[in-house]
Structures are given as C-alpha cells and as structure tokens.
C-alpha cells in the first residue's frame, strides 16, 4: 500500500476544493484511507494519519475513530508520536468518555520520563483536560514535580496543581507543603504560576487564606517581589513596552486583593506599594493601564485609606478620558461597581460619564446609562434628566425600554416639582412612547391623579400630544384616560400653568372617536377611548353624540369593546339615574409597593378599563341585550354595583392569579364585589384561599350545616351544601349541586349569583356546563361568601341554559339559608 499522503499535501488538496461537496468527497476518501491504515496497525504512519485527522476535525468533520490511535501514539516511545498523540488527546478526547482513562497510565509514566519535554507534554495534557479520576490518581506525581528544582517542570506542575484543585478540591491540602518556598524562586515562570496556585487556594478555602496571611506572611513577600519588579532596571527578557513583567504584576495585585479583603493588617501592609504602582505606572500603553486597572480593583476591595481610594477613583476618571475605548469601557464597569460605596467620589466624574452616553460603542453607552442612573440624586436631577432625555431621544431601540423605566424611577424619587414630573413623563411618552413598559401606564395614571392641582395642565398637554401623534399606545392610553377624567377642565380652559387652549366638546369627542376608528390603536387603547367617551357624558353636554357612539359599538366585532358599549348603553337606558354617580371623578389612588400585585381600588363603582385583555370569550349564552344582566341581578338600591376596578401592574404572581380570578368570575357569573385594599388582612387570605383550595370543597359532607334546596323548577334542582373555610370563620363555603330530572340534557348551563352589599362573593369555576338528564350527574360549583358583619345571608341567583333546543333563563332569590351558614 502506498505511503499515506503527507499532512501538508492533504491540506493543500483540500483547499483546492471549490464547493462544500467537493471538500466532503475528498475528506471521505482520505478518511477511508486513514481508517484502513489504522486497521493495519501501521506504526510508521500513524502519527501522520492522526495529524491529518486532526486537521479534518478542525474543519468540522467527525474524527472519533482516531481516539484510540491517539492513545497508541501517546504510548509510543517516539517523541514525535507523543507530541501528536497528546495533541490529539486534548482535541478529540473528553472526560465524558471512559476511553480517556486509558491515558492515565501513560501519563503517569511520562511524568517520570527522563526527558523534560515529555514530562512537559504529560503535565500539559493533565492540566488541560484531566478528569477528576485522573487527577486523583496522578496528584501525587504532580506534587512531586512541584518540588523539583527544574523550573521548566515546576511552573507546569504548579498550573497542573491548580487544575487538580479545581477538579478535586479536597486534594488542596496535599499541595500545601510544596508551596513553602515557591515564591523564593527567581524564575518568573515559576513565580507567575505559583501566584496563580496560591490565588486558587486562597479563593477556595478561608482556612488556607488565613494560613497564608498569618503563618506564611505572604503579603510582605508579594510586596517585595512587586517592588523589585517596579524598581529594577530594564530587563529585556520580561519587558513589555517599558514595564517589567506586567503579567506577573497583575497576578500579584490580584492575590493581594484577596489577602487584603476584610483584613486591616494585610491592607495596611500593602498600602504603600499600591500607591507606588498607582502613581508610577506608565499609562501611555495598554499594558500600563492593565496594571492600573488591577490596582484600582484591589484598592477598592481592600480596607484602604481614603486617600488611596480617591486616587483610585481619579485613575478611573482619567481612564474615562482616554482615547482608547477599551479603557473607557473598563473604567465605566469599575465605576459601576464602586458607585454604591464611594458615591461622592464617583459623582465628581459625572460630567465625563454623561458624555459617554454619546459614545458610538454600544457596550459603553449601556454602561454609561446604568452609571448615570446610579448617580442621579436630588441635587443633579434637572441636569441629569436633560441629558438622559436627550439620550432617550437618540439611542438605539434596545436601550429605550430600560432608559424609559430608569427615567420614571428617577423622576419619581427626585422630582423637584409636580409640574416638572409631569413634563418629564410627557417627554418620555412622546419620544419613546412605544417602548415604555406596560406597567408604566397604570403607574402614570396613579401619579396624575395624585397631582390634583396639575390636572388641567396635564390633560391639556396630553390632548395636544394626541393631536400630534396617536401611534404610541402608552401615550394614547394615558391621554384618553385623562381626557375622560378631566375633559371638563379641558373645555373650560382652566389651565394655570400655561396658556389655556380653546377646545370645544366636539373637538375632544372627534379626537377620541378618531382613536376608536384608527388602525393604529390596539384593542386595549380602544377600550380606554370608549370608556373615556362614556365618562364625558357626565362632564360634557353633548350627551346625544356620546349615546350614538356608544350604541354603534354595541355591535362591534371586538368582543371587549362590544361588552363595554352594551353595558354603557344600559347605563343610558335603564340606569340613567345612576350614571352620574358611577362616572364621578376618581378619588386619589393609593400607591402600592412598586412591585406589588394588582391593587383593586374600590371606588363608587367607576368602571376602570382593564389593560389586560380578557383571556376568554364571554359566555355565548348571554342574550344580546346584555344590559339587563349585571344590574338586574342586584336590583334595588341596597345592592352594591361594584365592578372590579383593576390597576394591573406587571404580572407578579399574586397579581396574575388575581386577574385570573377575576377572569374566572366573569366567566362563571355576575359581578362579584371585590375587596378594597383598606379592608384588614382577612382579605388576602380570602382570595388566595380560593385559588389554592379548589379540590378541598368538593367534599359534600358539610361541617354539620344542613344543606338546602335553593331552586327547583322545570326539572332543574339546585342544592346548596355548606362548609366553613378553615382559616377564616367569616367565610361560608357553599357548593351548589345542579341536577336535572328531565329527559334531555341541559347544556350551556351558567350559574350566576349576587349578594347584598355587606357581603362579598367569590364564584369558582363550575365542574362543567352540562347538567345531564335524568339525574345522571350533577354540575357543582363552589361559592365563597365573606360575611364579616354576620348578617343574614340572602342571595339572588340567575340561571341560564339551553334545554330542548331553546334558551332558558330564570331568576330566583334564595332566602332559606340555615342560620349556621352565616352566624
């Protein structure tokens, strides 16, 4: 068989391939040749073949069939073979495969080889890819080599030891004796690797750290070495741009950092040398700056005296002015780390930092933005905000959301005046409106309601913004909400802060209607707009126009919009007397914790548009004149019409569940009065109980409270069974059981309930909405009633279902609750 082609030959050939397919063909051919050569156990050319295989592996082709061959090469006596064999092992073998363990014996032998270059190969391979098992087996050999006087081997052994410790931390102890006089070596290679080894040991074990601090007096030794490096003259061997062995200097500084952290004595011992390095290092090249960088990090981390800290921050300040963007980046990163602890010192460099906002590099801009927000305080808020808003205008989209949020937070904390605050918000909404986070809208609305004296100004500015641009949804949503609330202030021209604009009711309604029809408006925005129009019916005189708009949307395809329109229509038709009360001005909302779950504010029943889209279609069975539904159930004036008033924030888990719950309620039944935040702590448990404990209440055997028949008509019978919820005795848990004695099923069965004002009701999901015929099964549903005042329980229920092809609807009152259920 002809000799396999040489490596260079193969490379040349493969590079002539013009297409991927051609290359693949050549590779496959060569691989086949190599495979047969391997099969023949050819010792002469094994090395060459494996080398070729490694080349093909780098191109991305599979080479696993060469793994064993690498092992054979390692076992060979020829240096060339070993060299390629070890290289192949490092490239092709990995510790997941058991085959790598076969190397262990070879490595062991080679670690004791007579030629140092072979020993070197073994140490290198072990130190790069040795698995924990291998490390355990060979740690002893490594430790022996750590004590040799041959610096070539000693330095490799040190790094090999580092790898062993990383893989098998328990073995750290055994290397301790060998470290005793590592630092008295003159050879820089050994010094460097020794410092790395000591660093690894100190980082991993506090005991080691303490030992090295006290017993070994490591700090003075390191200080001495560092001093020699700085003070000694030019050393051609280790010089880099006029600095002597920067690599070693940097590692020493890093080890000093670990030794000095939280330790006064050590920190004091290194103060002088740190000051010396900080002042004497040449800063014209990257190399000097690398050392200064490490020095600064060390100064900031140890217990350095304040003068030194100021020196460090000033170095960073100078870095910020450096032409080299890498240096600027590093400076910003370091300043970000120190801004919490050395706030005042960093403040001095604020203007430079703010200038970095205009840098071209994305990473630098991001760092500068984060740092700028960290530096904002009551004194510099106006100036900083100007810069940050300018940045918001011109930055890339990836920054806008974070920047906008940052601006809102900063404005909230440090706003010098309410007007300034509102102006800032306006600016953000108009410039980065589409990037603003969803939770900002309710937060802003809450903020606006709180600034009572600014209402007129706010609504005027928002109105003007709307005239310009209706594409940015958060802006449009806030604006429509405000117009709905404060539209009367707008048309009466009451603004104090700036020149009041003249605007008529019709113009305002034009704008809002424009939002409804515009393609740019999302469904959520349309909801806001419709509600705003409705609110204006009590503030404006052009009620007829509003009535017309509302009734048009009663047949909107958008189900949410349709539902609202129909309900508002009902307000006009049957409940006109309630309308003004319902649509009154909102009271000031309580601010929840910034990350808190959704807050439900009980107002006089004002409908608040929910920003979160309902996740379900409303029940199909509800007849088209839905206006009668909600309000009918409650009838009379003693029943409360409290429609949930949600201020959704970002879905913190409790909030999400809350919304789910409310969604649940409207699916399964009528309005459920939701608890106001001012009610004491029994409230949260009430809601959360319901969410987690659904299966518990299928238990029909009540705690001794007799069941009642709540309804029995036309073959539909509904029983109520009772139970007390354990944590809260004020809560009665009622399970309804609906059964059907007729011969046909009752489908689309929906049960709804309403209770008097002093009670609160929670309706969980029904088991199904088909009541099977002939008592073959029941539909169960759980009702939880909170009765803090222990009044007599009354309930109005409404049933809708389809039976024998026709829709059936019935209302009833349940008055026969047993006293035990509510006492």
């Amino acid at each position: 068989m002809p000799a396999p082609i040489r490596l260079r030959e193969l490379i040349r050939t493969i590079r002539t391939a013009r297409t991927q397919a051609e290359e693949r063909e050549m590779i496959q051919k060569e691989c086949a040749a190599i495979r047969s050569s391997f099969r023949e156990e050819d010792n002469t050319y094994r090395c060459r073949n494996v080398a070729k295989l490694l080349y093909m592996h780098m191109l991305g082709y599979p080479a696993h069939f060469g793994q064993l061959e690498c092992l054979k090469l390692i076992a060979s006596q020829k240096f060339t073979d070993k060299r390629i064999g070890y290289l192949g092992a490092m490239l092709l073998l990995d510790e997941r495969q058991d085959v790598h363990l076969l190397m262990t014996n070879c490595i062991k032998n080679d670690l004791n080889h007579s030629t140092q270059y072979v020993q070197g190969l073994a140490l290198c391979t072990l130190g790069c890819m040795g698995s924990s098992e291998m490390c355990r087996d060979l740690a002893g050999e490594v430790e022996k080599l750590l004590k040799t006087s041959n610096s070539y081997l000693r330095k490799k052994a040190a790094l090999c030891a580092v790898h062993v410790i990383r893989k098998v931390p328990e073995l750290m102890e055994m290397f301790l004796p060998a470290t005793k006089n590592l630092l008295s070596e003159k050879n820089h290679g050994v010094l460097h690797t020794s410092v790395v080894l000591l660093t690894e040991m100190c980082e991993r074990s506090p005991d080691m750290l303490a030992h090295f601090r006290k017993n070994e007096k490591l700090v003075p030794q390191l200080v001495r070495i560092l001093k020699n490096l700085i003070m000694s003259g030019y050393s051609p061997e280790h010089d880099v741009s006029g600095i002597s062995d920067p690599f070693l200097q940097v590692r020493i500084l890093r080890l000093l950092r670990i030794l000095g952290k939280n330790d006064d004595d050590s920190s004091e011992a290194m103060n002088d040398i740190l000051a010396q390095v900080a002042t004497n290092t040449e800063t014209s090249k990257n190399v000097g700056n690398a050392i200064l960088y490490e020095t600064v990090l060390t100064i900031m981390d140890i217990k350095s005296e304040s003068g030194l800290r100021v020196l460090a921050i000033n170095i960073l300040g100078r870095f910020l002015l450096n032409n080299d963007k890498n240096i600027r980046y590093v400076a910003l990163t370091s300043l970000l780390k120190t801004v919490q602890t050395d706030h005042n010192a960093v403040q001095r460099h604020r203007s430079t930092i703010v200038d970095c906002l205009k840098d071209l590099d994305v990473s630098i801009k991001r760092r500068a933005m984060e740092l700028s927000f960290a530096l904002v305080n009551g004194n510099n808020i106006r100036g900083m905000m100007k810069e940050l808003l300018y940045f918001l205008d011109s930055c890339d989209p990836e920054f806008k959301a974070d920047c906008a949020s940052g601006v809102f937070l900063a404005a909230e904390k440090y706003a010098p005046s309410k007007r300034w605050h509102i102006d800032t918000i306006m600016r953000v909404l108009t410039t980065a409106g589409s990037y603003v986070r969803d939770d900002s809208v309710p937060n802003l609305i809450q903020l606006i309601t709180n600034s009572v004296e600014m209402h007129a100004y706010t609504v005027q500015r928002l109105y003007k913004a709307l005239l310009d641009d209706i594409s940015q949804q958060p802006l449009v949503q806030v604006a429509s909400w405000c117009i709905g609330e404060y539209g009367d202030l707008l048309v009466s021209g009451q603004c104090e802060e700036e020149e009041p604009i003249q605007v008529t009711e019709d113009e305002v309604l034009d704008v809002l209607e424009g939002l409804l029809v515009s393609n740019l408006s999302t469904p959520v925005t349309r909801g806001y707009a419709l509600t705003a129009i409705m609110k204006l019916s009590t503030r404006f005189s052009s009620v007829n126009r509003i009535k017309k708009v509302v009734s048009i949307y009663g047949s909107s395809i958008d189900v949410e919009l349709q539902q609202r329109a129909v309900e508002y229509n009902a307000l006009f038709k049957k409940y006109d007397h309630m309308r003004s009360a319902l649509l009154e001005r909102m009271p000031i909302m309580e601010k929840t914790a910034s990350n808190g779950p959704t807050e439900i504010v009980q107002t006089n029943g004002e409908t608040e548009p929910s920003v979160v889209e309902p996740k379900h279609p409303p029940p199909v069975t509800l007849p088209t004149n839905q206006g009668t539904d909600l309000l009918d159930l409650l009838g009379g004036n003693d029943m409360a019409l409290a429609i949930p008033n949600t201020v959704p924030t970002k879905p913190a888990s409790a909030g999400g569940e809350l919304l789910d719950l409310l969604g649940d309620l409207s699916l399964s039944g009528g309005p459920a009065p939701t608890p106001a935040p001012s009610v004491p702590t029994s409230q949260p448990s009430f809601l959360l109980d319901g969410l987690s404990s659904q299966p518990l209440f299928n238990d029909i055997a009540a705690a001794g409270i007799p069941p009642i028949i709540a309804y029995n008509k036309n073959g539909l019978k509904i029983d109520f069974t009772f139970e007390r919820a354990n944590p809260n005795p004020n809560i009665a848990v009622i399970t309804i059981h609906a059964s059907n004695t007729t011969e046909t099923d009752m489908t689309d069965f929906v049960f709804q309930a309403a209770v008097p004002k002093t009670f609160q009701l929670q309706l969980l999901s029904p088991s199904s909405n088909v009541v099977p015929a002939l008592n073959q099964g029941t539909v169960t549903q759980v009702i939880r009633v909170l009765n803090p005042q222990k009044q007599q329980l009354r309930m109005r229920i409404k049933l809708t279902y389809t039976h024998r092809g026709s829709a059936v609807q019935d209302l009833a009152e349940v008055n026969n609750f047993p006293p035990q259920s509510w006492q």
């Binding site: 290198c124 490799k156 460097h192 940097v250 630098i364």
Partner: protein, 161 residues
Amino acid sequence: MMQFMLLFSRQGKLRLQKWYVPLSDKEKKKITRELVQTVLARKPKMCSFLEWRDLKIVYKRYASLYFCCAIEDQDNELITLEIIHRYVELLDKYFGSVCELDIIFNFEKAYFILDEFLLGGEAQETSKKNVLKAIEQADLLQEDAKEAETPRSVLEEIGLT
C-alpha cells in the same frame, strides 16, 4: 482563567480552537458558531470586549484572523489583550512574519507554541525567550527522533557515502 480560545478568519473558518473546560463536541460547535457570528458582526470602532452568557469575551483582529478568548468575571480584560498579543508575537517570531497561511499549514505547531505559553487557561511563562527556547528544543528532539528513524542504505551504514 481563560475558558477557551478561538482563532477564525473573516469568513468564519476556524483555524485553531483550544478548550480549557470539558464540553461535548456538539456544545463546542454551538458555542463556536454563535461566538463567531457575534464577533464578526461587530463594527471596527467598537471596543474589544463584550459580555456573552456569563463570560467576558476579549477579541482582537490581526490581519485576516480574529483571536477570541473567553475569560471569567474575575479576570483582567486588558491583560488578556496582552496575552493575545504575546501569542501573536510568539507565532511571529517562530514563523518569521506569520500570516494566516502559516497557521493553516502548520496548525499543529501553532498548538505546540500555545501549549508552551498557556496551560489550563493561565500563562505558564512570561518570558518570550523562554517559550521560544522550549519550542526550539522540542523541535530538535523531534528532528533527532526522525533522524534516527530514517532508513539508511547499506553503503551509508558502512560509511561509504
């Protein structure tokens, strides 16, 4: 420590890969692909550092080759640039004005040089001279070994030619 070093051309072809952490072939390929894409997308005016996953990536372009290192949070980015530069200097001294082709055709030598300079993701020798000396000696050893292998003709053996 350095977790890995990659050398690749402007077309995204890998010229050298040194891994100091154990990863499967598949993972290595994935990381390589992603990182090559990210680095090649950077504009020339941007800084040499970027954050990628939980690592810091330090890269520098020398002629047609990108040298890309992944270091850990504690490591000094600026000195890593110096390490990259030192490696290029070593290659340059060894090959005499190194270019990409040298590394393509002598990739195994590039690895040997790297293995004399770094070990386990850390620098083992800070003197340029010492690294080059070690490589030279090892090469000589290789030559001697080859010498010993070369079959000699009968006449050569007797010493007549």
